[in-house]
């Protein structure tokens, strides 16, 4: 049973990789957008760009995973091929995990490229273990968040539009462009409810800048966000096919 599920998760992610990674909505929101945003920040202030690196990597994670989810989920919802996966001898949560894994791998490729080139260019002090321990749950969290929002709508463009609300909310509130410590108290509380805050904070520790929470807390909270997104996503998907 679990063997069937693992096999399903693996092959679904593999197929999605081959099939969808180069689809325009994945490329524009998952690759072009983060790269353009990063360049814009660099051109504006090359001297303290290093301080912005954790935020920009976090943003790359957020955009790449969610953009991929919209493609792997909504293209299939629209064409009805998602049904094929639900008819296979795999549990529905496993189908959704396969879809989430597709987003994780896409995000991993993008984030890996952005992170390694920034490390080579700017040579910050890197703690590889921290980096891995923050990036891995983060990729899963935002991929799951993407899955959750994507199963709510049908079309890819609807999904991308819906995703832009949490994306931009988190970019502005979670310390990517503006430090949380300098925010009004109300917004600060809101920021602590959003997962990207912990990704940015954790990446600060990983890249030799002091964060203001705690790396272990960051990792634990990020991990806790995964089921918060993935279980309701599975519920919603089941309801869609009720």
């Amino acid at each position: 049973m679990w063997k069937d599920n693992l096999r399903g998760i693996y092959y679904i992610a593999l197929k999605d990789m081959k099939t969808y990674y180069l689809k325009p909505p994945a490329v524009s929101w998952g690759i072009v957008f983060p790269v353009a945003w990063i360049l814009a920040f660099y051109l504006r202030s090359p001297q303290d760009f290093e301080k912005l690196l954790p935020g920009l990597i976090a943003m790359t994670v957020l955009f790449s995973t969610t953009a991929a989810e919209a493609v792997v989920i909504n293209l299939e919802l629209r064409l009805g091929s998602l049904e094929r996966l639900l008819l296979a001898p795999i549990s529905l949560p496993a189908v959704l995990l396969g879809k989430a894994l597709g987003g994780v791998i896409f995000g991993l490729i993008m984030t890996g490229l952005v992170t390694s080139s920034s490390i080579l260019l700017f040579r910050p002090q890197v703690n590889m273990l921290y980096l891995a321990l923050i990036l891995l749950p983060s990729l899963l969290v935002f991929s799951s968040l993407g899955a959750l929002l994507c199963v709510m709508v049908k079309e890819v463009f609807e999904a991308q539009t819906l995703l832009n609300f949490p994306r931009f909310l988190m970019i502005f509130l979670c310390g990517v462009v503006y430090p949380i410590s300098a925010m009004p108290v109300g917004l600060m509380h809101l920021a602590y409810l959003l997962p990207l805050t912990y990704t940015v904070d954790g990446l600060n520790y990983a890249l030799g800048i002091n964060g203001n929470i705690n790396i272990v807390v960051d990792i634990i909270l990020l991990t806790a966000f995964i089921p918060i997104f993935i279980f309701p996503a599975a519920k919603l998907l089941a309801k869609r096919f009720a």
Binding site: K15, T19, L79, G80, E83, R84, L87, A88, P89, I90
Partner: protein
């Protein structure tokens, strides 16, 4: 586990909000049988297949497929059946062969067998030349064939076909039907839906006629035809034409009247009695009979008779016995 039945449905019911799509349906499909669900648009055929294959939850009732309870043992059951949905829904970006291989991976076909199995199926469905063509570029008929091939990748004991020949031309539909028969000969149980009576009659061992979510009748095609033969039809045209259908309806030995072209079609149990009644009626009313013929009812008539569906105006129901 009951070995005689491939499918058992007990009081199967499905509501979509207020809409009652399937209404307390009961039936069994024996192993090795070709069983057809015949019904007009919106009868609930697809809804039934979706429930039987675990894709949607029944509002009430119980289902066993291949001996497994669909509520609790769905994953095990799925290993033993394949589903061909109403719309061909393979992946447009993958080639014909890759689509089959992906299906093999999902269904746990052992790695060494996947490619061979895919090739066998491509061959069977005449798609070997198209194995490297993307699904999106195939013709509608080829898409249908490949979708069916994908449902067979794991050698299922049971296959669900939702309107398998829809959108196929006559030649392709025919070859598909012989393929279904061939599968069945090899022991695969077939559950299919269709709204072609002819197709159901040609293929199925038994047919369930479904109307507005309810099963009207379940029987063999022969028995169904038998029922129709019991009802004779007489087509007649008068001059001048009577405007009141009611009078014709009132005739003894006529139990149903339909308008048919410029005349009427009268149904009854005994042809001599109907003809007698028509002549008596005509002479009483001073009408001339300009045309009269007895028509042997078509299978469509059978369907119309059993389901009572036809545009309201065309059909005047009169308590068929």
């Amino acid at each position: 586990m009951d070995k005689t039945f491939a499918i058992e449905a007990l009081n199967l019911t499905k509501y979509y909000g207020e809409t009652l799509a399937v209404d307390q349906v009961n039936f069994e499909v024996r192993r090795g049988e070709i069983f057809g669900f015949l019904g007009p648009n919106g009868a609930g055929k697809t809804t039934t297949i979706r429930m039987l294959s675990g894709l949607s939850q029944p509002s009430a009732g119980a289902i066993r497929v291949l001996g497994y309870d669909i509520g609790s043992e769905i994953v095990e059951a799925k290993k033993g059946f394949g589903v061909v949905p109403e719309y061909s829904n393979l992946y447009g970006e993958l080639t014909a062969q890759d689509n089959l291989i992906f299906a093999a991976q999902l269904y746990g076909v052992p790695r060494q067998q996947r490619k061979r199995r895919a090739e066998e199926l491509l061959e069977t469905f005449g798609l070997l030349e198209k194995k490297d063509a993307h699904f999106a570029t195939l013709s509608k008929g080829m898409k249908r064939s490949l979708t069916i091939a994908a449902a067979l990748i794991h050698n299922p004991q049971l296959i669900f076909l939702d309107e398998p020949t829809v959108a196929l031309d006559v030649v392709n539909a025919r070859s598909l039907r012989s393929l279904v028969r061939e599968l069945n000969r090899r022991g695969v149980t077939v559950f299919l839906t269709t709204h072609y009576l002819e197709e159901a009659a040609m293929l199925c061992d038994r047919i369930a006629i479904l109307l507005q979510g309810r099963i009207i009748v379940i029987d063999t095609p022969d028995n169904l035809k038998q029922r129709v033969k019991a009802e004779h039809a007489c087509e007649v045209r008068f001059a001048p034409m009577p405007t009141e259908v009611m009078e014709l309806e009132g005739l003894e030995s006529v139990y149903r009247v339909e308008r048919s072209g410029a005349g009427f079609r009268l149904y009854g149990e005994s042809m001599p009695d109907i003809v007698q009644a028509v002549f008596t009626y005509a002479s009483q009313k001073g009408l001339e009979i300009v045309f009269i013929s007895t028509t042997s009812p078509t299978l469509e008539d059978a369907f119309v008779q059993l389901t009572g569906i036809a545009p309201e105006v065309m059909l005047v129901e009169k308590g068929v016995k």
